[in-house]
């Protein structure tokens, strides 16, 4: 009997990643066909948005004092149990059954393909499952895109705070630059707007130019990043942190004082841009570009920090004086790190603005920067997979716990205090996911025949 759990674990561990992704895709398919019926049948009143967590919590009565809370607990509990039944039937069973069944065929299939194609198939499967899962409840899609934006923010901030060891707390400032520059451009070029007038280009261009405009927003943010990069030659640690806060405030105040883009009232019209794009071709444009944006960010930052040139960033963290004396061009490296980091914050900002459809300077204050900081520390400094995980967990928690109202924030920050007390290194502790599970085992890379590694030196 004791053998059973171990054997199940081993069996599940052998299933390649792609089989799990296909399982999830199947589950989302099943949900879109049967979800609503099942939800009504077991008394959930429809499809639960986030596995039933939000819906059960929304049954808490918070405004009638402690008595109200206690009296509402049974109904929360009952709903939660029912949602659990739903989750098991719709997600857990299909995922594991499909993954288990497909394990062997997928393993064989993957081994016949070149690695780049395998990676591509994984990405497409993941995208399709996110699309079907999100398509069922519009709110889900929004949250998926928020997660994407936050992954970009967190990974790019991790380059500065985790890899370079400086403490930047003004990341939202660069996000604001990207958000405003790209929004103003898209609204000016593609929509009928009160300030900018009729669309400048034909609708067809919007689909092609959208990613380029995001990049322009990123470049504008990268240029602002120089505002931190140059002071960083002379100033470090706490003092540079003050510089980053100042830059955040400068950018926010500057935007507040440009009347043409709405000043403190904010800027909107991005929903119109989206409608223009959808009128050309009706696909989930924003989900596509957020997905691609996340992939590009992860690849760029990973490749940069694992190259010898990029490792100069880590050498600066470990001992800046030694780095400079051991031939690392620290100024050049700092400029690179700050511009790459703020470039992606700008991209995240552009996506965020179009997802939300409305931005104002008040969105991009130090509070927003702090949120990114929290995600970096939650995931673990100097870990890209940690940043991805924490952005996902943090964003989901923020949304799922929404019914708790004010108590949500208390709970989340309390968790952060506990994290700092008991696991300061964050979820991943400076390691990457691939340090725990090899790419070969996930089925992302073909198994290597001979054992690679450094042979011990013969004395």
């Amino acid at each position: 009997m004791a053998q059973l759990p171990r054997r199940i674990r081993e069996f599940l561990g052998r299933i390649p990643l792609l089989a799990y992704l296909l399982g999830f895709l199947a589950a989302t398919g099943i949900e879109s066909i049967l979800g609503k019926t099942l939800g009504l049948l077991i008394g959930l009143g429809g499809v639960p948005a986030f596995f039933g967590i939000t819906d059960s919590l929304s049954r808490l009565v918070l405004d009638k004092g402690l008595g109200g809370v206690l009296l509402s607990l049974p109904s929360v509990f009952i709903y939660f149990v029912l949602a659990l039944v739903y989750d098991v039937l719709i997600y857990i069973l299909p995922v594991f059954i499909v993954a288990g069944l497909l394990s062997r065929p997928v393993r064989w299939f993957v081994s016949t393909l070149p690695e780049w194609l395998t990676g591509f198939i994984h990405m497409v499967t993941l995208f399709l499952s996110l699309w079907t899962w999100g398509g069922l409840v519009e709110y889900r899609l929004l949250v998926v895109m928020y997660i994407g934006v936050n992954i970009i923010m967190t990974t790019s901030l991790n380059l500065i705070n985790g890899y370079m060891g400086e403490f930047s707390c003004g990341h939202a400032g660069f996000m604001a630059v990207g958000a405003y520059v790209s929004s103003v451009l898209t609204v000016w070029l593609f929509t009928q707007d009160d300030v900018f007038g009729a669309p400048v280009l034909r609708a067809g261009w919007s689909v092609i130019l959208f990613p380029l405009i995001l990049v322009v927003g990123g470049i504008a943010a990268a240029i602002m990043g120089l505002l931190v990069a140059f002071p960083s030659f002379k100033t470090r640690g706490d003092y540079l942190a003050i510089v980053t806060i100042s830059v955040n405030f400068i950018i926010k105040s500057a935007i507040e004082n440009i009347e043409k883009i709405g000043g403190p009232r904010g800027f909107m019209g991005m929903k119109g841009v989206l409608r223009t794009m959808e009128s050309v071709l009706n696909v989930p444009w924003l989900l596509i570009w957020t997905f691609i944006g996340v992939l590009v960010t992860l690849v760029v930052i990973h490749n940069f920090v694992s190259s010898t040139k990029g490792k100069g960033v880590v050498a600066i963290r470990e001992d800046e004086i030694a780095a400079e004396l051991m031939s690392v061009n620290t100024r050049h490296t700092k400029i690179l790190a700050f511009t790459i980091s703020s470039f992606f914050a700008g991209i995240a900002g552009g996506l965020f603005a179009h997802v939300l459809g409305y931005i104002n300077p008040g969105t991009f204050t130090i509070f927003k920067s702090t949120e990114s900081l929290v995600m970096v520390y939650l995931g673990g400094m100097g870990s890209i997979s940690g940043s991805v995980l924490s952005a996902g967990i943090f964003t989901l928690a923020m949304e799922a716990l929404r019914p708790l109202e004010v108590w949500k924030k208390v709970l989340i920050w309390l968790l952060l205090i506990l994290l700092m007390m008991f696991r300061r290194e964050g979820i991943m502790g400076g390691k990457e996911l691939t340090d725990f599970v090899s790419l070969e085992r996930l089925g992302l890379r073909r198994p290597v025949k001979e054992v690679k590694g450094y042979a011990p030196a013969a004395d």
Partner: protein, 255 residues
Amino acid sequence: MPLLQINHLTHFFGGLRAVHDFNLDLEKGELIGLIGPNGAGKTTIFNLITGAYRPTQGDIRFNGHNLIGLRPHQITAKGIGRTFQTIRLWNNLSVLDNIRIAQFAQIKYGVVDSILHTKRYREEEKEIEKRSLELLEVFNLRHLANEVVANLPYGQQREVEIVRALATKPRLLLLDEPAAGMNPGEIDALLKLIQWIRREFDLTIWIIEHQMRVIMGICERIKVIDFGETIAEGTPTEIQTNPRVLKAYLGEEGF
């Protein structure tokens, strides 16, 4: 032409004169020592040469190039490698990464190459890794390539630091108290290592030390400074009997 030429080098920290009118012509292939009591200004001279400080006065020429005003990484790229009095490795990185990063100046690919993993990038990285492993092999440290530096014992960290300095492809190697914290047995091994490196890598070496006996055996020429002033220069035997040196080390009452 001397490899390193220092003329009238003077440096002040605020009102404190750390180095005064220091002159040196260092010929290619020499192995010289700089000794002096603690606080005599020895490390300051190394910091002035490597560009960590900018001298108040005087000039430093290496291989015909003026070094004044260059940033440290540029000076290192010109061929001056160094170690530190207290070990300054990048502690949380692997031994291999420490050696790789020290070849930063030899990188020719750009950021875009590193992001797109172009052919140029892959070739250069392969070369860097190959060279790093070869260097480690030479010092019998190859089996530690993936070990995090902080986990190594003190003696091995000293060795790794020397390997890292060699990875910058120096022509002149500055060793700042390489024997600090070592017992007599380790010191003997270190001195052998230094002489071997000098031959193997065709280096000019300049060692700082404050314990005289450490370098008496291997240096052909020794300079002695005290309170920033040069008080003696000559062969080890000359230095050992020089009254000013004895005074600086042992005080007025001396022998």
